[in-house]
């Protein structure tokens, strides 16, 4: 087959000895774009919103009330909102960037032949894994802060009865499985969408990929939503005090 599919992102160029891959390149561009545009909007906030400020306010207010409905109103929602909202905006924005027409035509000539400059940012497992690790580490820190270090360890190593010991070990495995499932869900969906689009384009160009593109558009938004909401749900589960 003439398809060129690889799990690892392609290397564009080197800065010193550090390889710069195409996904890394684009994630930096997306980050800078989001930071600069949000700073610019924040600088010229008006009391009577107009234009783009309307849209941003609607987005932020809607997501804030959604966060409040899951984790409960007050200090908790205020603290967790920046994290999950940033994850949501970053994931959705970088996923939707794939659907700019014509971007896949740009290539860069490197030593290993031409390499596409653009690649879906979330189809790089390294980035997704790092985002998941940030989320999971925050969950563990919150759990430790809520139940204390001994209570936290006691949740996993319980010697009161064989059954409780077994359940504790299962909890430990569940915490590790969270990393795998959370990261592979986002990575798998986006990567599969990319591969599916490529295969369909290869089989019969222009018309067969259309329904799959539409499905991918839905997936791009839903997966960003799901990733941030699951992080939110796990954090709110970790932050609940045990009432016994």
């Amino acid at each position: 087959m003439g398809l060129n599919i690889s799990l690892a992102p392609d290397i564009l160029f080197y800065i010193g000895t550090t390889p710069i891959t195409n996904t890394f390149f684009w994630s930096v561009i997306v980050s800078f774009f989001l930071i600069i545009s949000f700073v610019l909007i924040a600088k010229r906030l008006k009391d009577v919103p107009s234009g783009i400020q309307n849209i941003i306010e609607m987005l932020i207010e809607g997501s804030y009330s959604f966060v409040e409905s899951i984790i409960g109103p007050g200090k908790k929602a205020k603290r967790v909102f920046p994290l999950v909202a940033t994850m949501f905006i970053f994931i959705v924005f970088s996923n939707l960037l794939v659907y700019i027409p014509g971007q896949s035509a740009f290539t860069l000539n490197t030593a290993d032949g031409p390499v596409a400059i653009f690649r879906a940012v979330m189809s790089d497992y390294g980035l997704v894994l790092m985002m998941t690790l940030v989320a999971v580490i925050i969950m563990q820190i919150i759990a430790i802060a809520i139940s204390g270090p001994f209570g936290y360890i006691g949740k996993f190593l319980n010697f009161k009865s064989p059954l409780k010991f077994f359940l504790g070990i299962m909890d430990l495995i569940g915490e590790i499985a969270k990393i795998v499932s959370l990261s592979f869900r986002l990575f798998g969906n986006i990567f599969a969408g990319e591969v599916l689009g490529a295969v369909m384009l290869f089989l019969f160009p222009f018309f067969t990929p259309l329904p799959f593109m539409f499905l991918g558009l839905l997936t791009a938004v839903v997966q960003g939503f799901v990733f941030s909401v699951l992080t939110l749900v796990f954090i709110s589960m970790a932050s609940e005090t045990e009432s016994e």
Partner: protein
């Protein structure tokens, strides 16, 4: 049978069998959510996001199968 052919067959079996469970599960989730919205249309704003979260959790075994298939094929 050479190794490459065995790889293709293995990837096909992995994703084919792995897709059965999540497909049934997501179908049940969607049907129940639609049923609930049909009974109480005002609650659709609350049901729909929860349905997507539930579907995403159901989907994870399918995603595992997909990842295994992709690793067999390209890894």
């Amino acid at each position: 049978m050479d190794v490459q052919a065995a790889k293709y067959i293995a990837a096909g079996i992995a994703i084919g069998l792995g897709a059965i469970g999540p497909a049934i599960g997501e179908g049940i989730a969607a049907s129940k959510a639609l049923e609930a919205i049909g009974r109480n249309p005002e609650a659709s704003g609350k049901i729909t996001p929860l349905m997507f979260v539930g579907m995403a959790v159901t989907e994870s075994t399918g995603i595992y199968a997909l990842v295994v298939a992709l690793i067999i094929l390209f890894g």
